[in-house]
């Protein structure tokens, strides 16, 4: 297939995986104001669960992904109750430290459960095969990711902008005390939102197990990437996160093809420039 088509398909699918994982971080970071360095751990758990089910019990891919997503969301509940609740009101440093501790524990745990080597990334036959879309033959796996991602974007927009739940969550974040006073159960809302975010991370990890291969250091390895996507997009902004993730996927794929020398740091340089621009007022009155 042509270069443009290649970049489009692989860039979009890579971007979709980034989006699906990062949107959960956009929720916890942007909406719940928790600096969650352990977000990658939930993605890794989802990915590993799915791969384990497929390789050890020959569970079909769609079932494995669904179970992995729900499993991750479920696991997140006690973690949120016991470890995150105490730090919601704490400073950024405490949040960074606790979640880094969680990352460490999760890496050790993943290693214990699944071994130190990279998990298998082979695809089931029906995903390995390609479908013809016009003149291009697109691998089903990549196509599936793009379609699922698009559906997810629509679904999330619906939930957050159009439902009671979304409105209540936004209210609870803006004025926690006020929201509680009008009868919104803030604690339960946060638990649900956290489970949603972590479940989405698990979904992304499971779907993207060939795009972002799984290994014990996964939580730390891709963390910077998720954080940068969410930070550039602006916290809590789901539409922007989607746009940003897709853009990152496309640009990164294109760069690897045309300028392998540029490497990943272009993205981080962009972040620095954007942060500088965003806070230029603070800079001006600083000196």
């Amino acid at each position: 297939m042509s270069v443009a088509a290649f970049i489009l398909v692989y860039g979009l699918s890579y971007g979709m995986v980034l989006f699906i994982i990062s949107v959960g971080l956009a929720v916890t970071l942007g909406l719940m104001r928790v600096v969650n360095m352990a977000h990658g751990s939930f993605a890794a758990v989802g990915g590993y669960l799915a791969v384990a089910m497929m390789t050890q019990w020959s569970v079909p891919f769609p079932v494995a992904v669904i179970v992995a997503t729900l499993g991750t969301a479920l696991i997140s509940v006690p973690i949120e109750r016991f470890l995150y609740v105490p730090i919601y009101e704490a400073g950024e440093l405490d949040q960074v430290l606790l979640t880094i501790g969680l990352v460490f524990v999760s890496i050790a745990g993943l290693n214990l459960a699944f071994g130190p080597n990279q998990a298998p990334t082979s695809l089931p036959r029906w995903l390995e095969a390609s479908t013809d879309i016009g003149p291009i033959a697109v691998q089903n796996y990549r196509l599936m990711i793009i379609v699922v991602g698009a559906l997810l974007i629509a679904a999330l927009w619906l939930v957050f902008d159009r439902t009671d739940f979304g409105a209540r969550l936004r209210a609870a974040v803006e004025r926690r005390g006020m929201a509680a006073a009008v009868g919104i159960n803030v604690n339960r809302l946060f638990t649900i939102a956290f489970a949603l975010g972590s479940g989405l991370a698990g979904l992304g990890g499971a779907l993207g197990y060939q795009v972002l291969p799984l290994e014990p250091t996964y939580p730390f390895k891709y963390l910077a990437l998720f954080l940068v996507v969410v930070s550039i997009a602006g916290l809590g902004n789901i539409r922007a996160t989607a746009a940003m993730a897709l853009l990152v996927g496309l640009i990164d794929t294109a760069l690897r093809y045309f300028f392998p020398a540029a490497g990943a740091f272009a993205l981080f340089a962009i972040l620095i420039v954007i942060q500088f621009w965003r806070y230029r007022a603070a800079f001006r009155i600083w000196y």
């Binding site: 730090i87 440093l93 050790a108």
Partner: protein, 324 residues
């Protein structure tokens, strides 16, 4: 409850508790002759953590990218030696100086920020340095790193032995020197002002403090010290690899410092020693076990033991003193 003194305005104490770490460092030299290179590694990391304590523990600068100063110091020292300048002490000073200059540039980019934006920008800078170093293989040696670093004897007299005797004492001397600087600094009105800036920057401005200049000064000093640590690493291990710029290292030094206790200088020593010893012992069984222990300790520190291990020790001491 009553208190009879203001600790930050009390004359600095030099007593048995303050001398203890140095006695231990000296004792280790004699007690563990076959572990001296490991010991040097701990001293170097302790210096790195000390530099971070000045920036984070005292001034409240949130950085997940302090490795940029360490790594620059390391590569600078390595390249200076490979280029032919083999005098170690001036090599360290020049490398530290380069890191200090870098700190001015980084400072301009991050010091006016707060919270997550500050964390993210420092993190991004670290990644950029890593990637650039990765790509400039002709300069840094890429994955293979800088190898075959050779140095002249210290003061022209003390040869670099294979077992690391010179390296250990050399590193300990630098640590002592840098510690004295940090100690003086934090006990001065400037040190008190730094804490004020950390606690309430707006108020500090309103009482007339030029907080931008103060933060820049401490950041440059911190960058210098981190650069010295990196340079020592290059000189003692005779090798510089990409990991000196890694996010892993920036996170690790943060963890070490917090484990020991922020804002108390010796916290850097305690936390580093505990971290590296745990790593060493647990890694023998499985390379990832130590992460579990450290992770749990870190979670414990945040939830229960604010002030790290030294904070716990403080409370234990106060409890003991209350007994008749």
């Amino acid at each position: 409850m009553g208190r009879d003194r203001s600790p930050l305005l009390a004359p600095p104490r030099v007593g048995p508790l303050q001398a203890l770490p140095w006695l231990l460092i000296a004792a280790a030299y004699f007690a563990f002759p076959s572990y001296l290179s490991f010991g040097s590694g701990i001293l170097i990391m302790a210096l790195f953590a000390l530099s971070l304590d000045l920036a984070l523990g005292y001034a409240g600068i949130l950085t997940l990218g302090h490795a940029v100063f360490y790594g620059t110091g390391a590569y600078a020292a390595g390249l200076i030696a490979l280029a032919g300048w083999r005098e170690p002490i001036t090599g360290v000073l020049m490398s530290g100086g380069l890191s200090a200059i870098l700190a001015v540039i980084v400072g301009i980019l991050v010091l006016h920020l707060r919270g997550l934006p500050q964390i993210m920008t420092t993190l991004a800078l670290g990644v950029i340095f890593y990637e650039v170093a990765n790509k400039l293989t002709s300069v840094t040696g890429g994955d293979d790193g800088l190898q075959g670093i050779r140095l002249d004897p210290v003061f022209g007299v003390f040869d670099w032995t294979v077992y690391g005797h010179t390296a250990y004492l050399y590193t300990a001397a630098w640590l002592l020197l840098m510690f004295l600087v940090a100690w003086r600094l934090t006990g001065s009105p400037f040190g008190l002002a730094l804490q004020g800036i950390r606690i309430n920057p707006l108020r500090m401005q309103m009482i007339g403090a030029p907080i931008a200049h103060r933060l820049m000064k401490v950041f440059v000093i911190s960058g210098f010290m981190a650069g010295v640590a990196g340079a020592l690493s290059a000189q003692t291990t005779k090798f510089v690899g990409l990991e000196v710029y890694s996010l892993n290292l920036s996170a690790a030094v943060l963890v070490m410092l917090v484990l020991g206790g922020l804002g108390r200088l010796y916290g850097a020593f305690v936390g580093t020693a505990v971290y590296m010893i745990v790593h060493h012992i647990a890694a023998i069984a499985d390379p990832y076990n130590w992460m579990f222990v450290i992770g749990v300790l870190l979670i414990g520190v945040v939830l229960l033991a604010r002030g790290g291990l030294l904070g716990v020790a403080d409370r234990a001491l106060r409890f003991v003193r209350r007994w008749p």
